[in-house]
Amino acid sequence: MALQEQPKKKKKIKVPKVINGETTLVEVEVDDTSGPVWGPKDAHTVINHPIRRVDGPAKVTGQAKYTYDVRVPGMLYGRILRSPHASAEIVSIDTSPAERMNGVKAVISYADKKQLKYEGDPVAAVAAITPEIAEDAIRAIKVTYKKLPHVVTPQQAIKPDAPRVFSGREEADLKGNLRPGETRGDKAEVEAALKTCDAVVEREFMITMQHHACLETHGIVVDYNGGPTATVYASTQGTFTIPGEAAQTLGLPNQQAVTAVVEYMGGGFGSKFGIDLPGEVACQLSKKAKAPVHLMLTRVDEFLMAGNRSGAWQKVKAGATKDGKLVAVSATQYRLGGLAEGSQAGIPYIYHAEKVYREVAALHTNQDGSRSFRAPGHPQACFPTESIMDDLAAAIGMDPVEFRKKNVSDPAYHRQLDAGAKAIGWENRNKTPGGGPGSGPNNALKRGMGCGCATWGGGGGPSCQVDVFITPDGGVVAQVGTQDLGTGSRTITAAVVADEFGLPVEAIETRIGHSTYGSANPSGGSTTTASLTPAVKDAAYNARTQFAAKLAPMLNAKPEDLIFHDGKVYAANAPDKALTWKQACAALGMAGLSARGEWKPGLSGNGVHGVHFAEVEVDTETGQVRVLKMVCVQDCGLCVNRTATESQINGGMIQGLGYALYEKTVADPFTGNMLNTTLDEYKLPGCMEMPEMIPIIDDGDERNVVIGMAEPATIPAAGAIANAVYNACGVRVTSLPITPDKILDGLAKLRKG
């Protein structure tokens, strides 16, 4: 019998893969080996504790340089000439007035485009020595447009005789502007089941597009002078999504020719992957001018050409029995993603119904295409689902929390609903919608409470390669090319290493945001922390194993018996004979130590749960809704940084509050123009709108694995607030945002009966 090499034991696991911000689970094969483990949750010295952001001081003092701040020698400023029409053809274009201007170094025309399909569609671009000259130059370009019929609202787009957004070959799958998607379930069965219900609710929901409104607009600085290599500074969610695309656009042979730098980035929320439109234009301008180009979108550009969260137009019918069982749900869901498909999760979302029928389609308009945005599709499914759940609970006279518990089996939700109810003071809630006592002027202020639930993946996968270096003088560096979308990557990387070596976080220098460092996944699908920290843990574990082997003879102990704690290294049985960290490192010799780590299964998990509770005060004379208090209970397995996690929860509540009450994209049906493309007209909540916020990390979650949680923390806000409004004043608002005009209209209807 021939001697056969024993194959390495492998196992198959499912991990999330993010493509353009959309998450899907894929199966991968990994080595089934032993390795690092997190150890007991309560035994950590650094992780699972509140940790201040290591780069906080740099950010608040302005020392942190964002892409917007980058200046390189000989740099030009790029500007894009946008289409002023929702739908048009370019009849003629004359770029010569721009080309003749002093200081203009490159002009590009996109006149070969067959059709301009949204307001903001690039028509031309300019690079000049100052941003002002660039702006003057794009305005000097003479363009004659032939305006074509447009549709910019769903009401326009759905009409049988509506102008078509797509034509010719693109039209194959379309019925008018409707692109039919999946249909699930048996409609007749659902209708029959609804007939058996004690309560049936039918409603139509309209959700407007929301803008990401990143504090730093989309943009890039291409440092390229016509040579063989380029350095690209990008405001992106994926360091490694940059080099390939930039190399291709610059005409360089491969991605090795491009170094991407993403030290700091000012927000993305799902909208910043790849070099994107501004990056493509900047590369073209840089190539043409043979000079570096800085191209950051203006705020108006940002509203018009940097994407949005798709809106949704949904008709939902649902029925329940009087003992609280959700029996059947029927939903028609139109995704409103402009030129893109949009995203939409199913209804009844996290709840179980015996019979479900669902019909999904995309309804296109002449508007910039939607992009992934903090839990794509989920807020759009959560708001109608939670509204309907509340209506059904009211119809059968059951407590809304109780009704929810009866229709979701996962104990995590039961635990979280109880914790959230306790934190908001649910027992004080008025029991009949609009029936509570009034206060304030003319007793017009009425209070109410509501809740909603969310789910998300947040799992990690193999992608990160982390290096840990220890120098003989005691320095520790952790290095990986990942970016910091807001997850605090720098801090958690330092924290995991510090935890492993018993050092303070400040003792670790973390280098991130550089494509020459070890690879990392783009930050999409809340996968950053669960992909990154296992690789950091592995690198730190490998470094510690090597270090321990070196130190063991000095301490007369076995390597596995060495303890790294409180800045010292010692044998478990001889803590009095400890080496200080510096003494230990000196033993490493000139070369110091380096170790690499990769993602390993068993350190990260997948699947999170969260609930929101909101308490609002509705002014029944003015229609104003003020959120008084919000509670979010969110699980995440093993929490790495409790401060950052609470910040993410707060950020999720704030963004959800904006979605619920203020933010609306307004397109003019007649002219086709977008009407609110400034931060004055597009209303983001400000500091005066902030409620008392209570972020609760669900420590009842016993899973000892790291799971991402940043996206789900925003999902239930609109549902919880809408339900609180209903509870306060009896008005069920079925469209977002919930503005005073809708409340006043609703109250007037209630009075009429």
Binding site: H85, D668, F670, G686
Partner: protein, 331 residues
């Protein structure tokens, strides 16, 4: 965003400034006056106006004086910053509605840059007007796009042929306080009641006031009165962190015992000008402030209100705001 190039002049006297203005430039397309710049620079950056000449008033001495005299009342130089009015103890004590209005303007940063003259003369915020690509009737076009378009924030009173609402908070309060405005032009100085300063689109759709292209607002005078001392400005906005009035009410009144003696009532955020409501004032005078009176006053104030497709809510909203402003004034 950046603005077109222009010639900037920094005159050091009113005469020099006026000489730089162009009497034939009917709608101030060519020459613009710059004070705090909080509206003008935005308009220029958005290319709503592209003046060739900008006349900066900030080097003219004497225009930034805020003076209170128990006999004469309050004199507010055109260059006095909005924040200085909001924070002034004499204003807070003797003209509370003005302090409240000034304090409600935009954001702290803007209040510290924006001037009182500029606040009165600012242009409308209608999003059709503010969109470079849309040439509405206020910019020489043939229609008011808001009339049949996205008109949630537009006028319910005094509209046509444009349905803008006047954006100034301080104007609403100042009209209620019976303020007058001093205007200087090539022929000298004139003082007119602020109420007569603002004009409806039906009078001149291109402008919001009677200021001639070669005239400058130099000061605002607010007479001392028992009404002014008992005044309130109440502003309703969707967002408390920097937002425009969806509806506002300025109320100034005196009482004798339980009944109202004198009253001036002006609505904001609902009409192209600060909208004084004499019928409502009459309905309040001589009456005790009770639910019945408040209802009658509110009805009278909104008499003739005509809602567009999306702004019907402004009628009940404004009634509520007015009722509360009166309640607050007599409290």
């Amino acid at each position: 965003m950046s603005m077109n190039s222009f010639d900037l002049h920094n005159p050091t006297s009113l005469q020099q400034a006026i000489a730089l203005l162009d009497p034939t430039d009917a709608n101030n397309r060519r020459v613009r006056i710059l004070a705090g710049g909080q509206d003008l620079l935005t308009e220029m950056k958005d290319h709503i106006v592209e003046p060739e000449v900008v006349v900066n008033l900030k080097h003219i001495p004497g225009l930034d004086t805020l003076a209170y005299d128990p006999q004469k009342g309050l004199t507010i130089g055109a260059l006095v910053r909005v924040a200085d009015v909001a924070d002034n103890a004499d204003v807070q004590k003797n003209f509370p509605a003005l302090a409240m209005a000034a304090g409600s303007v935009a954001s702290p940063q803007i209040r510290h840059m924006g001037t009182m003259g500029g606040n009165l003369c600012q242009r409308p915020r209608c999003w059709y007007y503010r969109n470079e690509h849309i040439v509405c009737i206020k910019k020489g076009g043939d229609r008011c796009y808001a009339a049949t378009g996205e008109n949630k924030y537009n006028a319910i009173l005094g509209g046509g042929p444009s349905w803008i609402v006047h954006p100034s908070d301080t104007a609403t309060a100042l009209v209620a306080l019976n303020a007058s405005v001093t205007i200087t032009g090539p022929k000298g100085t004139r003082t007119i009641p602020l109420e007569k300063f603002f004009i409806l689109p039906s009078v001149n759709v291109r402008r919001e006031n009677v200021l001639k292209p070669d005239e400058i607002v130099t000061s605002i005078l607010v007479p001392n009165s028992p009404l002014a001392a008992r005044s309130v400005y109440l502003k309703f906005r969707e967002k408390s962190s920097m937002d425009w009035a969806m509806s506002a009410a300025a109320v100034a009144l005196t009482t004798a015992g339980d009944t109202v003696k004198e009253a001036r009532i002006v609505l904001g955020g609902v009409a192209p000008i600060p909208w004084r409501v004499p019928k409502a004032e009459a309905a309040l005078k001589g009456k005790p402030v009770n639910a019945q009176t408040l209802e009658a006053v509110a009805e009278a104030a909104l008499d003739g209100a005509l809602a567009l497709a999306q702004n019907g809510y402004k009628i009940p909203l404004t009634k509520a705001i007015l009722r509360r402003a009166i309640q607050q004034a007599v409290a």
